[in-house]
Assembly symmetry: C2
Homo-oligomer: 211 residues x 2
């Protein structure tokens, strides 16, 4: 099973997680709307954009060198651009949860999920700036670029791991807040969404390893 087969599985679980998330937020929850008077509709922008905007696009960006059938220059541009869009959508997703907290008078950044999430996002931003300066603008000599590339990859994979960890703790937190009962359909839906995100992360990781 080659790199393309494994990235195919990554796409599959990535899209599956997106669909499960949409069903959850639109059918079982209050729906999704940034400019709403209903705080829960505002909140729901957060899981949607943090996964489908941030994690999914970043994962696809990481695999771009294997999946884009074009020359290296184009792949590199797609890699950079997908990560940039991921960051922009991630910022909107973060704003949504801060807005929800303000609307509902909930303090910010006190749970483990929020700590992992905000740390991941900051390091991700730094990693993007570093990559843009060194590899896109070629702010370093070819020898230095070749030397730092393995580290760029190692940190990128560690950040994907952190981002998935943030998603899992976030789903866990919401599951507890909602006091979902065992054997309740919504409980299974949230858990399967978490598993799909986990498998997306695992297959992105494997597809990069074997490429």
């Amino acid at each position: 099973m080659g790199s393309l087969g494994i990235s195919g599985l990554a796409h599959l679980f990535g899209v599956l997680a997106f669909i499960l998330l949409l069903v959850w937020l639109l059918h079982y929850r209050e729906g999704i709307e940034y400019d709403s008077d209903n705080g829960f509709r505002v909140f729901n922008v957060h899981p949607l954009l943090m996964y489908s905007g941030f994690i999914f696009l970043a994962g696809e960006g990481m695999m771009a060198f294997q999946t884009i059938p074009s020359e290296r220059r184009v792949r590199k541009f797609v890699h950079m651009a997908l990560h940039l869009i991921a960051i922009i959508l991630g910022v909107v997703g973060l704003c949504a949860v801060f807005k929800f907290h303000d609307m509902s008078h909930i303090p910010h950044l006190y749970t483990l999920h929020s700590w992992i999430g905000i740390a991941t996002f900051c390091f991700f931003g730094l990693q993007w700036l570093f990559g843009f300066g060194v590899f896109m603008l070629q702010g370093a000599s070819p020898a230095t670029r070749a030397k730092v590339l393995p580290w760029h990859k190692v940190f990128g994979r560690a950040l994907l791991f952190l981002a998935v960890c943030a998603a899992e703790t976030g789903l866990m937190e919401k599951h507890s807040f909602l006091q979902l009962k065992p054997y309740q359909r919504e409980s299974y839906l949230v858990n399967f969404t978490g598993l799909a995100i986990l498998l997306f992360g695992a297959f992105v990781n494997f597809s990069i390893v074997i490429s």
Copy 2:
């Protein structure tokens, strides 16, 4: 900064997480006792053994090839033995949470944490059996062993990632069940324990990558 420096940081965060966990369970919670009538004392065996027994020993086992100052044969044995002890202590830790559920009439295996945890443990057992058969008993030819070794490493690192993810979701779950308030000391303690476990996992990973 060499592999030994990075594994030094891994030891540091690993021991830090162990101390924070002990302070939490002994000072803020009910204490730790498998044969107790107090269900919470039984439960507390679970986080203690799943982290210090399972994750910490498995992580140390993964780094044994860099950290044990001896010949390869000894390192390999320590690698295998630490993982075996990790599995045995992990089984006791799992029994503790099942016993607590039975004592408190809570259903088993309905949260995302439990799904990730039990899947990790099963795959970990399979990985150990595979490794024992192929590398310790040398049940495969040297050529085959050389071919599967990179996959053994990749899966091992993915399992460490899953185990850390299980720990983070577990801490998150307990944090929510306890309804810890923001800016409460115990809340910070649980979060810092989670961060220390995360950093232990990250530095174990980095130390293996650069070795």
